[in-house]
Amino acid sequence: MITKNVSNVAKALEGVSSNMTLMLGGFGLCGIPENSIAELVRLNISEIICISNNAGVDDFGLGLLLQKKQIKKMISSYVGENAEFERQMLSGELEVELIPQGTLAERCRSAQMGIPAFYTPAGYGTEVSKGKEVRDFEGKPHLLEHAFKADFSLIKAWKGDTAGNLVFKGTARNFNAPMAGAANICVAEVEELVPVGKLDPNQIHIPGIFIDRIFQGKNYEKRIEQRTLTQK
């Protein structure tokens, strides 16, 4: 097998620099690449364009990069959990491009799968359709949407092997799967890195071919945004 594992997050993120476009997996705080985000803070790079479904919360996830004003532009579907975000956006410090969530996911998957563009009905007749080609299919208008381009995609899986094969858990799969292999370089961090042969080849969610570097993450906080409970 081709070996993809690197010893730590610093090596995994070699080549990441200011002004780059980065994809980051996760939905809310669920499945975010915590180690890679911490390293982006440490590297102190700036003017980043982030493609990420959400923008984290004030003091966690991408909120950490927003606090330090490292982000120039966010490309997201929902950014409602972050007051600092809203402040920067309304003051004009931060550019924001809002995209329907399904379109966001499919534009990642298209980049991953070498499809330059596709049609979707989402957003037709709304602000989102401005400047986009509209075409009818069976009498229903659709928008032409393009694959994303990005320098790095930073994703997080539950388990992975040294060949880069990934397995996700629960709803943490979300954007991590379609962002795998969707940028020039894809870095995967995993909660548990195992030797090849330990994962069932039938049960691999993302084959290693989509991954360029993989590393064993550490100190996962896995913060919960809305702890909702059923009373016993």
Binding site: P100, L104, T171, L229
Partner: protein, 218 residues
């Protein structure tokens, strides 16, 4: 008497049919799950990647890797499945989800809906709402009939940036259950004790009042 949030959810639950896959939005729609008739064989989809969503977990059983689209901790029922965001919206776009229930800030008499943006004030994003309303064939809106300032949310035209065009089929508010027709809002049912005049006064868009308008049966 106008319905409370649970009343609205209870009325909407009557629309859920045997064998339906249902996507519930944040807010009142989430409450609908509590009122679905037993034995109906319904599955709830949450667009962040689960089908077969169960109730909130008991304390100590919550899992950061198991949330719904509102970022709330949830559980998975036996027979559930997890998938990525691309497949999740494939289910939605491909019309595999039978019923979508979501909130709204405004609905127009032609079925347009606005629920994602108040320019200059609130810009949280559309999340999955634009995908849902563009593809779902069966969309029910759960909302208050008027806003906090007492102004109607059932309008001739949406004043806010819209989420989708000609897509809403039915609306359940604190005052009434209405259907969208080519001519406007058709008043199907009144909330218990609410008069037609009250509903008329609270509706800015064209309101079509059939000869009989029964009270909701809750």
């Amino acid at each position: 008497m106008a319905l409370d949030k649970n009343g609205i959810a209870q009325r909407i639950a009557q629309e859920v049919q045997y064998g339906f896959y249902v996507n519930l939005g944040i807010g009142i729609p989430t409450l609908v799950a509590n009122f679905v008739q037993d034995g109906l064989e319904v599955e709830f989809q949450s667009e962040n990647g689960i089908l077969g969503m169960g109730p909130f977990p008991f304390e100590g059983e919550e899992d950061a890797d198991l949330i719904n689209a509102g970022k709330q901790t949830i559980t998975a029922l036996p027979g559930a499945s997890f998938f990525d965001s691309s497949m999740s919206f494939g289910m939605i776009r491909g019309k595999h989800v039978d019923l979508t229930i979501l909130g709204a800030m405004e609905v127009a008499e032609n079925g347009d809906i606005a629920n994602w943006k108040i320019p200059g004030k609130m810009v949280k994003g559309m999340g999955g709402a634009m995908d849902l309303v563009a593809s779902a064939e069966n969309i029910i809106v759960a909302m208050q009939h008027t806003n906090r300032a007492g102004k109607s949310k059932l309008l001739k035209r949406c004043s806010l940036p819209i989420t989708g065009v000609n897509c809403v089929k039915k609306i359940v508010t604190d005052l009434a259950c209405l259907e969208i027709s080519n001519e406007g809002f058709v008043l199907l049912e009144r909330a218990p004790g609410v008069s037609i005049e009250t509903i008329k006064a609270a509706t800015e868009g064209n309101l079509i009042i059939p000869t009989t308008v029964p009270e909701m049966q809750l």
